[in-house]
Symmetry: C2
Subunit: 336 residues, 2 copies
DNA sequence: GACACTGGCGCAAACGTTTGCGCCTTGCGC
DNA sequence: GCGCAAGGCGCAAACGTTTGCGCCAGTGTC
């Protein structure tokens, strides 16, 4: 079925292509009678404007690219969801790219996206490689970085959760419950959020006069298997910790499982607190006490800002940090 | 930074636009000396072809659309991942659309995608609305349906897991363990996979001479909260079942949680089996016995077939059913 | 030495839009 | 009755490619 074009509509309505275009785009006034004739022709023929030709001519694609490191984390589904909803509502399309944190792949994706003339970009990777950052900075492409350090560039914005605060909430909660011997299940050193959480946790402990020994800091891959392995290492030690702060829920779930396998009751023998509040966190046994990130809102904020910039060229807010909050469930021991 | 165009390269290399284009696309022979000159010019200027203009002219966008109902199910992350990886490897881009199973939204997305001249489409929705199916059938757009009934249309292929077999595996496993009183936690009647699983389960039970009463069939929304609610209803009955077959893992996890809350030990007092084998299934306590779907492969198969069709116009295989397999963990009681 | 062929390349017309420029026709003021 | 503004519309040139057609030079054939 051949597509209907502007010229078909024009012929059918007995006007010029120009007029049809102006009717479609409301871009100059057209006599009511003509307009109606054109609109009828559009409806009868089922005309839909070709967005490829539009893009070529007008240099706007109404497409935004999103590069993520997929990490197998349900966290991302919710995030993408937040982005995608808003895109749709504003008539934008989303091109999704899983970059695996591989610098070469990120850069390749960026190239592809540029070739497709995306209007804006959202990047959420745990590590931004050099060649990627460099390639990005050569463009003047409105970009929102998630999980990154703030910058001064006017075409770059950052949207984050306030991980330092989140970590503080977690640690304070444990301390309030009388739990002073806390192990930290961190992420890789290249992961900005992990570093923030680590800094926040350490600062809070420090204020309480606690300086955890090196054995209480275990690096994980931020996935369930990593949490599991880390917890086992901790439990092998002569004197296991009273509590564990896992830097995300997947890690906490792995830790939970390791404790279960070791026959340790949570929270009686060991308290565990997570971070993210992914969907399943409330369904684990025991249900996971965790720091809630406004995941969907994080995505929505990023895209809202981007589209706002594109549509009304409003300047970027350089940094937006959304506050996390504590969700108390069952995996931390009740106060005595 | 203005983009480099074909004409810039042409000027720089002292040849015509035509020649540069042919060098880029390897589409007709060019004298070695000239070719090298052109290639050098391309490298020096950093030329990258504009895929929008290409699409306009050649009517191929190297873009494929994917419409999913996001259902908050980690299942989808893995699936999308499978699709996306293969897309990237073949130089295609993926436009992602969350349609929420809303017919109007699905149709709207389809329109948008058509306007963008996608080359192919992958649809995974639990229910394909009428207006959507009709709009789709008016196009001759190569499309792979996942989770749908096979069709005879040459531009439509279906990729599935063999849910009937999967259900059989689950039920047989329970029967082997001496569990005859089984409740089924199904999905909505509009969900093709659920119907297949239901049919498979019922058939297997029937062969064993068992016909479950209506109270043993509970419909859920295929999410954790639904599984939780369904399980509670079941436990409220005077005589709860010995075993539960949940039609996906999220439902199983909800059920697990409900059993836990009711103080019922799994699997000693109640056996639970799931479906999908999502990442977290192995980390629940007890770890979930479930039917493993080759999720990533499902996605990979769909996209591989689609791209194969687009690139080498190989005809579609109308139906591919990938075999699931049983994964035995801890949530079903051991044989006596 | 005329001829046909071939390899190497360029011209220019598409693809489906958007948009600056400018041409009519009216209507109004004087 | 003339001038002028304004409203209503169309022409044609872009946007950056791909590609059919055809030109030119060089080579081999009889």
């Amino acid at each position: 079925m051949a597509m209907v074009r502007l010229k078909d509509v024009a012929r059918h309505a007995g006007v010029s292509i120009t007029t049809v275009s102006h009717v479609v785009n409301r871009t100059r006034s057209v006599a009511p009678a003509t307009r109606e004739r054109v609109q009828r022709a559009i409806a009868e023929l089922g005309y839909r404007p070709d967005s490829v030709a539009r893009t070529l001519k007008s240099n706007r694609s109404r497409t935004i690219g999103m590069i993520v490191t997929t990490a197998h984390n349900p966290f991302f589904s919710a995030l993408i969801r937040g982005v995608e909803d808003h895109c749709f509502a504003s008539g934008y399309s989303l091109v999704l790219c899983n970059a695996d944190d591989a610098d070469a792949k990120q850069t390749a994706y960026l190239q592809t996206l540029l070739e497709r003339r995306i209007d804006g970009l959202i990047v959420m990777t745990s590590r931004n490689g050099d060649s990627f950052v460099e390639a990005l900075s050569r463009q003047s492409l409105p970009t929102v970085l998630m999980d990154a350090a703030p910058t001064r560039r006017p075409d770059l914005a950052v949207v984050n959760d306030d991980s330092r605060l989140g970590a503080r909430l977690a640690i304070e909660h444990l301390l309030e419950r009388g739990l002073g011997d806390i192990a930290l299940l961190t992420g890789p050193a290249s992961h900005p959020r992990s570093q923030e959480r680590l800094a926040g946790a350490l600062a809070t402990l420090h204020e309480a006069g606690i300086a955890p020994p090196a054995t209480r800091l275990v690096t994980t891959n931020l996935m369930a298997d990593g949490g599991h392995a880390a917890m086992r290492r901790l439990l092998d030690e002569p004197c296991p910790p009273q509590a564990v702060f896992a830097f995300n829920d997947l890690v906490a779930i792995g830790a939970l499982r390791a404790a279960h396998e070791a026959g340790l009751r949570v929270p009686e023998a060991l308290s565990i607190i997570g971070y993210d509040d992914i969907e399943v966190a409330r369904y684990t046994c025991p249900a996971l006490t965790t720091v809630h990130q406004p995941i969907y809102e994080l995505g929505a904020t990023a895209i809202a800002q981007l589209i706002d910039r594109l549509e009304h060229d409003r300047p970027f807010t350089p940094l937006q940090s959304l506050p996390p909050r504590l969700v108390t469930r069952e995996s931390v021991i009740a106060p005595r």
